[in-house]
């Protein structure tokens, strides 16, 4: 059974000009221990999907339809009091900027101990020992000595290591990592990704890795979901999506990764920009930028259909799939 099932998730924002649909019928699953990469441009709905799963959508945003199930049980309808013990214990989260995600007034040890004691029956002494272990585990040198240090005494990369320890310390089954390396120096990014990979594998934690960096996905994820304008454009094993993308948008994304093997004069880019939520075109949302449009793309919105090893929301593959 999958660990997490997201089915036809819809997230809407009421605005003065009516309802904005930021996530439109998104469905995917994550198996225990699996790493699902979620890629797409800014505003494609990647982070919102993560926020919806963990139950921390910023009002007035709200889940307007669909289901989110954890171990088969719905969590999208839980009251805040019932959802709170799930956060941290079942689903953890890592955010983008480690410089702002740690409370500046408390020592990192205190923040770790507080988090563990919220979820696990640990004495002060055991919690402290475990905190030291976690810090060692995420590669903080002299952890025993530095447990009383405050966030400002660490560099950005070190702070992100602390954030990872905090997200994992109550041993959740799933981690939602929302752009965990975007705010870091390039030289640090690889270290943090390697750490995240190692430590989640050791603990058997599944990861939903939200990023716009295809390189990170290719290196880390088992499967990848490509999001565009609030929908999933393509989802499938990372190898297939990277090497033989079925959706023209995924193809464009992969084409924009610089290659070391092949010499290219210019990087390919996708012309134009993602439509705003207020102005999503009729038919396929990608049609204004797609090099392969035909009549059907302009009128009908494609559903996510099997396209070889992946599933793709593109009419190009409709013939291969049974009609719906």
């Amino acid at each position: 059974m999958p660990l997490l099932e997201v089915e036809n998730l819809i997230v809407e924002f009421p605005t003065r000009r009516g309802l904005l649909r930021a996530i439109d019928e998104v469905s995917f699953t994550i198996d225990p221990g699996e790493v699902l990469g979620v890629v797409g441009e800014s505003g494609a709905g990647k982070s919102l999907t993560g926020a919806a799963i963990i139950g921390l959508l910023e009002p007035p945003g709200r889940i307007a339809g669909g289901q989110i199930r954890l171990n088969g049980a719905r969590i999208d309808t839980l009251s805040p009091e019932r959802m709170r013990p799930i956060r941290g214990r079942q689903i953890g989260a890592i955010f983008q900027d480690p410089l702002t995600t740690l409370n500046p007034l408390y020592s990192i040890g205190r923040q770790l101990v507080e988090t563990m004691q919220t979820h696990l029956p640990l004495s002060d002494r055991d919690a402290r020992e475990r905190a030291i272990q976690w810090l060692e585990d995420v590669g903080i040198p002299a952890a025993r000595h530095r447990i009383g240090a405050f966030p400002h005494e660490f560099s950005g990369g070190m702070r992100q290591r602390v954030v990872i320890a905090l997200a994992l310390c109550a041993e959740p089954r799933l981690i939602i990592a929302d752009e965990p390396t975007t705010a870091l120096d390039v030289s640090i990014q690889a270290q943090i990704i390697a750490l995240l990979k190692r430590i989640t594998r050791e603990h058997g934690t599944a990861v939903m890795l939200v990023t716009h960096d295809m390189g990170v996905i290719a290196e880390t994820a088992d499967r990848v979901a490509v999001m565009y304008a609030g929908r999933i454009a393509e989802i499938g094993p990372v190898r297939d999506v990277v090497l033989t993308p079925a959706h023209p948008y995924s193809e464009g994304l992969m084409g924009s990764i610089p290659s070391l093997e092949h010499r290219v004069d210019r990087l390919r880019q996708i012309d134009g920009a993602m439509p705003r939520l207020t102005a999503i075109p009729q038919g396929c949302a990608f049609n204004p930028r797609c090099p392969k449009t035909f009549a059907r793309c302009m009128t009908e919105r494609p559903a996510l259909l099997p396209a070889g090893p992946t599933r793709s929301a593109c009419w190009l593959h409709a013939e291969a799939a049974p009609h719906v």
Binding site: I54, L56, R84, P85, I86, R87, G88, R89, G92, A93, F95, D97, T100, T101, L102, N103, P104, L105, Y106, S107, E114, T115, T118, H119, I140, P141, A142, R146, A149, F150, H152, E153, F154, S155, G157, M158, V163, L166, A167, A170, I188, Q191
Partner: protein, 329 residues
């Protein structure tokens, strides 16, 4: 830590010397003490004798040094009006003002901070909005009007509380206090509310604004994502982060309460320093005025030092870095 305190005290010296200069200048430029002492009828020789006896014919800087020297020894001269040593006079009045200001500040803090937290957390709630509207009254009504309204309601119409004075006083170790008798406590209520109401609404609005800011921050979002309890998030993580600006304002306001309780003390005929100052200004009682000025300067310096020490206690980022910064990467 010790070096920090020492540095702050050294910094305070020029401030205090400047204020002493202004206090000193009061004697030279406000009124003529000789004329006040000699009365209507005197000869030029008599005047010169007095001038010489008081040392007023010496160069200004010598007079200034003498002034500072005697101030350091607690000698502030005699009040023209009451013919008593100013030091004694102020010491007699100080407890009344201290008690009033302390109670007003406690009232402002103990009600202002929780209300600020509440209105910050339930920012769209009906009760929170109602409190915010009420708080506008506290911010906008002048102190004397609030005092008079309170007297009208609670002293005149209802007759529950006295309208003036300090009630029965008890002397404890040479310090007269109204806190130990029922009538003293009753007498304190209306002036304390009058004096504290503005500060209370100010603190409340400040805490609310800071809470709204902090609750939006990433570390609060991360604390929620870790499943911490609402209580731990609101009071442990959010409120503590609002404290630095709140301490700044409360410190300055407390100085303000002590120094400028003049209006409240006048309305309630509260026998404190504010009332003494108003009475002294009316008759140009320069020694009292100049000593008052000095005292307030000392109080502000002391409060600012306390505020700095509190920052130091609250925010680890301000502490001198004694830990090694190993493990940067």
């Amino acid at each position: 830590m010790f070096a920090f305190i020492l540095a702050r005290i050294l910094q305070a010296i020029p401030v205090l010397l400047t204020v002493a200069g202004i206090s000193f200048a009061l004697f030279a430029y406000v009124g003529d003490p000789i004329a006040q002492m000699l009365g209507q009828d005197f000869t030029l020789a008599q005047r010169e004798a007095v001038v010489h006896a008081l040392g007023l014919d010496q160069p200004l800087y010598v007079q200034y040094i003498k002034f500072v020297w005697s101030a350091l020894h607690g000698e502030f001269g005699l009040s023209y009006r009451l013919a008593k040593p100013v030091g004694t006079l102020i010491l007699e009045r100080l407890p009344a003002t201290m008690e009033l200001a302390f109670c007003a500040a406690m009232l402002a803090l103990c009600i202002g901070v929780p209300l600020g937290v509440y209105t910050g957390i339930r920012r769209n709630g009906a009760l929170a909005r109602f409190i915010m509207i009420l708080s506008l009254i506290g911010v906008s009504l002048p102190t004397f009007l609030i005092g008079i309204l309170l007297i009208l309601i609670f002293a005149v119409l209802l007759g529950w509380l006295p309208s003036f004075g300090r009630g029965t006083l008890t002397v404890v170790a040479g310090y007269s206090t109204g806190l130990l008798s029922l009538s003293g406590l009753k007498a304190l209520i209306l002036p304390a509310i009058t004096l504290g109401l503005f500060q209370m609404t100010l603190i409340m609005r400040l805490v609310r604004a800071e809470m709204l800011e902090v609750l939006r921050s990433d570390y609060i979002k991360f604390a929620r994502a870790r499943g911490l309890s609402t209580r731990a998030i609101n009071f442990g993580h959010a409120l503590k982060n609002t404290l630095v600006p709140v301490i700044t304002v409360v410190g300055l306001q407390l100085g303000g309460l002590l120094a400028f309780s003049i209006v409240t003390e006048t309305v309630f005929q509260w026998p404190g320093m504010g009332l003494l100052l108003v009475q002294s200004i009316a008759v140009a009682d320069i020694p009292v005025m100049s000593t008052y000025l000095l005292l307030i300067a000392v109080l502000f310096v002391a409060i600012n030092l306390t505020v700095d020490l509190l920052y130091y206690a609250v925010d680890p980022r301000l502490r001198l870095n004694r830990r090694s910064l190993t493990g940067r990467g």
